[in-house]
């Protein structure tokens, strides 16, 4: 199976690899997936007082498509409001990276990671976690 140019680009030059201070109340961390499934994503966001995501970082254990999906997600998150970030759909990632059907689960995981990070941030700041409408698994 050949990878799309965009997957190769994100894989070769991943954006925003790294770690934010997870103890900070401004930082939300989402850790999704499982080692035995071959995919684990950790996505972190830093949010300012206006509910805008000012920074995003990731680390991913997984295939090229999983790494590219999380790299793309961090790129999209920066500068977005929490509400806009919540609206990112896995199919947007599939489309942007031209993921084949067997790799759609990578995009699902990235969407789950975004939502998990946002909810972690909300809970830390005394807000109710947002109930997720759809369950992918």
């Amino acid at each position: 199976m050949a990878y799309s140019d965009k997957v190769i680009d994100h894989y070769t030059n991943p954006r925003n690899v790294g770690t934010l201070d997870k103890s900070s109340h401004k930082v939300g961390t989402g850790l999704v997936g499982a080692p035995e499934c071959g995919d684990v994503m950790r996505l972190q966001i830093e949010v300012d007082d206006n509910n805008v995501i000012t920074d995003a970082k990731f680390k991913t254990f997984g295939c090229g498509s999983a790494i590219a999906s999380s790299s793309l997600a961090t790129e999209w998150l920066k500068g977005k409001s929490i509400d806009d970030a919540m609206a990112i759909d896995n199919m947007d990632i599939v489309e942007e990276l031209a993921l084949p059907p067997v790799k759609i689960h990578c995009s699902v995981l990235a969407e789950d990671a975004i939502k998990a990070a946002i909810n972690d941030y909300r809970v830390k700041n005394g807000l109710e976690p947002i109930e997720l409408e759809k369950s992918h698994h």
């Binding site: 997936g33 080692p35 035995e36 071959g38 991913t60 295939c63 689960h105």
Partner: protein, 403 residues
Amino acid sequence: MNLPIYLDNNATTPMDPRVLEAMIPYFTQKFGNAASRNHHFGWVAEEAVDYAREQVAKLIGATEKEIIFTSGATESDNLAIKGVFEMYKDKGNHIITAVTEHKAVLDACKHVEKLGGKVTYLPVKEDGLVDLELLEQSITPETILVSIMYGNNEIGVIQPIKEIAAIAHKHGALFMTDATQAVGKIPVDVNADGIDLLALSAHKMYGPKGVGALYVRRKGPRVKVTAQMDGGGHERGMRSGTLNVPGIVGLGKACEIARLEMDSEAQRLSAMRDRLEASLSELEESYVNGNVQHRLPHVANISFKYVEGEGLMMAMKDLAVSSGSACTSASLEPSYVLKSLGLSDDLAHSSIRFGLGRFTTDEEVDYAIEVTKKAVTHLRELSPLWEMFKEGIDLNSIEWAEH
């Protein structure tokens, strides 16, 4: 050095130019049907097939009448298992095999189960070897066949074939072995080893694809299999179908070359493999899978913990290897062979198989070491699991959301 580098010689091997040279006349000038008994063209083809039969037989210590040409090891495995089951059904209906066998054996056994047969799938020990005591305990008066592979395709471990054959024979069962990965790489002798049926393939030993053979013992005991392909009664009635003369000539030549060069080649390959393995073992948290004493000279299967195999292969640009991870398959299930060694799923997902071959050079191995080390290091920088490991977090203490 030309890129990309092929290090997947357990999947298939390039054809040796000497094999190709031997085959070429049999496509155009010497194109006869080996079954045409009444003219020159048929005789020439038949002579070539007979010669190849001798070349194949000689490699495994058999006689030429014991060699049945097939389309490859998958067909040989099917013919042996289904053919023995059908031929000996009055004697019993039980077959014993192992969980680490190739799918051709496992699925032929599943077919036998559908036909009313009983199959025992033996587990293996942590090093990939069959437990001989467990094997003996599993034999019943109904057992007609024990089928255990010679060398494993994923991890390269060599089973104690002689001992397994002796146990089978002690209880009146036949012994068959899928020797696809072993024949031509290490000495295999059907008499010394006590093998009754043996499957082999040309394309794993620098011959062409689409041709293989089944060895069927003729003396002590005389073994018979029921044909699975009906037709003109070729191959002593055991496998009908016009013989693939150029392919068979290629298989014969490949066997001859392997026999003559095996000793020096096995030494060269195992030295290269050991060097590769030693260098890659310098990386923290890397584990060699399978028994390291009893194994084929050209295979190294290594897990690099905290990186995922498919992602790793993508970073090992210009290296053709394979992984026990199966991120592309719908099931997302990692290698059943590695899992049967008791490897956790995450280590199975982190495995890479290097298969060296006749045309692999030292320079290529050096390059592979360098690229692999870089790739593992790079991907660990991206891996949240590596970071947690480095922080001393026990990954088993985390509640993972399995998906």
